[in-house]
């Protein structure tokens, strides 16, 4: 049972990381495109990108924290 819990926790962490990675990747892509289209707005785009990425990261960290508790 203990081993199963650990397995579940690690799989959960992996899933959370996949989701977060995907999300942050999409943000990065969109931000790059936006900067490429409007290089003069690069600062604003970067700020917003970091904020949004931080929000997604927050969700992922919650998931990881939950997994940690299950470990």
């Amino acid at each position: 049972m203990e081993t199963l819990g650990i397995l579940g926790a690690t799989i959960g962490a992996a899933l959370a990381v996949i989701g977060a990675g995907f999300g942050i990747g999409k943000i990065g892509k969109a931000a790059m495109e936006a900067i490429g289209r409007q290089p003069e707005a690069a600062d604003k785009v970067r700020t917003t990108m970091i904020i949004v990425a931080a929000l997604i990261e927050g969700v992922a960290l919650f998931a990881v924290a939950v997994c940690f508790m299950a470990l």
Binding site: T47, I51, L55
Partner: protein, 372 residues
């Protein structure tokens, strides 16, 4: 270009040196327990706390700085003694360090009836000692720069050296994130945000450096990030405007979302707490994960020690190279996490500062944050 390359070379060299120095405690650990390397223990030992500051093993001898243990006994009140009394599982005045159970690694008190309880423990542990050292560095750094300004007139040229560095940092933070995120009365909050940034940044950097006065894992400790996030929470909500509280308690959404069951207010109120909670977890997890990864990479050297010379050599090279890479990465993360913490704090404070003027923008950010 040449200058940049020189700096890059210097960083690589110092990272290499750091990676080599980082091996010391690991090696000590590896040989201490019959040569069997348990990576998890090593990592947890570094990330966790201890009552003495283990520096390393030199010439077959463990070198550790004993730190004061301050505990409040249920029987005899406050006690303060050196942690060397507890070294090696010894008991002192009824206190000893538990080896297993719920309080493993902590000081516990044995009561006369034989039961073990955890006393109030305000010991200067390794983390606390590192925290105090780093706080002193932060204060000296900023007050030194401020003193520099007190002696100068405005008509003098821009400062050089330390004050110049601090000024560059302060100016870029104020112009880059604090002013745009907090809004018109940023002057009131800039000192707090800058303090948070400097504090986190210095602690992050000191956490990466593995040798003695540095090397404590402070921002990778949940208690430290809890206090930092709590500070942001308090600043945000204590200085919140009426408009902010109205948005929290009576947001502009269809009435059925508010009247019979206060769904939206409930979400908003939960959002009040999830924001600092995310700040806390983010900083903690990033720094802790970085330290863990570096340690695990260096542990590869010792894990492969029994697999023969060829495997060990090749894996050592790989682990050192990866360790250098991760150290560089951690330098970036040290700055980035301090920056992100400051930026998000600014955004939260700015949201609580907004009057009716910037209604639309506030809603956008609110929607983003409540989606969690």
């Amino acid at each position: 270009m040449g200058y940049g390359r020189k700096i890059f070379n210097w960083i690589v060299l110092s990272a290499l040196a750091l990676a080599l120095v980082l091996e010391l405690p690991v090696r000590a650990h590896a040989h201490g327990e019959g040569g069997d390397v348990i990576v998890k223990d090593i990592v947890l030992e570094h990330i966790g706390d201890s009552y003495e500051w283990h520096i390393g093993k030199f010439v077959g001898k463990h070198v550790a700085i004993p730190l004061p243990v301050i505990v409040c006994s249920r029987e005899n009140g406050w006690k303060c003694f050196s942690s060397s009394h507890l070294h090696g599982g010894h008991s002192y005045e009824g206190f000893h360090i538990a080896t297993e159970g719920a309080y493993a690694g902590k000081v516990v008190e044995t009561l006369p009836d034989g039961s073990q309880v955890r006393p109030w423990d305000l010991s200067i542990t390794k983390t606390v000692a590192g925290l105090l050292i780093n706080s002193t560095i932060v204060v000296l750094l900023i007050l030194g720069a401020a003193r520099h300004y007190r002696k100068r007139r405005i008509t003098d040229s821009a400062p050089m050296g330390l004050a110049g560095l601090v000024e560059m940092l302060v100016e870029s933070l104020v112009d880059g994130i604090i002013k745009p995120c907090v809004g018109p009365n940023y002057r009131k909050f800039a000192p707090y945000l800058l303090t948070a940034f400097t504090f986190i940044f210095i602690n992050n950097i000191m956490g990466i450096i593995p040798i003695f006065p540095a090397g404590t894992n402070i921002t990778g400790n949940i208690a430290a990030t809890f206090v930092l996030a709590m500070a942001t929470f308090l600043v945000t909500n204590l200085f919140g405007t009426r408009h902010y509280w109205k948005e929290v308690l009576w947001p502009e959404v269809p009435t059925w979302l508010k009247v019979p069951l206060p769904i939206m207010p409930a979400i908003e109120i939960i959002g009040l707490f999830t924001k600092p909670f995310a700040l806390m977890i983010r900083l903690f997890a990033n720094i802790m994960a970085g330290h863990s990864v570096i340690l695990i990479l260096i542990c590869i050297v010792f894990v492969t020690a029994r697999m023969g010379a060829t495997v060990n050599t090749s894996m050592s090279i790989v682990s050192i190279l990866l360790g250098i890479f991760m150290n560089c990465m951690e330098l970036l993360v040290a700055f980035l996490q301090a920056y992100v913490f400051t930026m998000l704090s600014s955004v939260f404070i700015g949201m609580a500062q907004e009057g009716a003027g910037h209604h639309e923008k506030k809603n956008d950010i609110d929607n983003l944050t409540t989606k969690r």
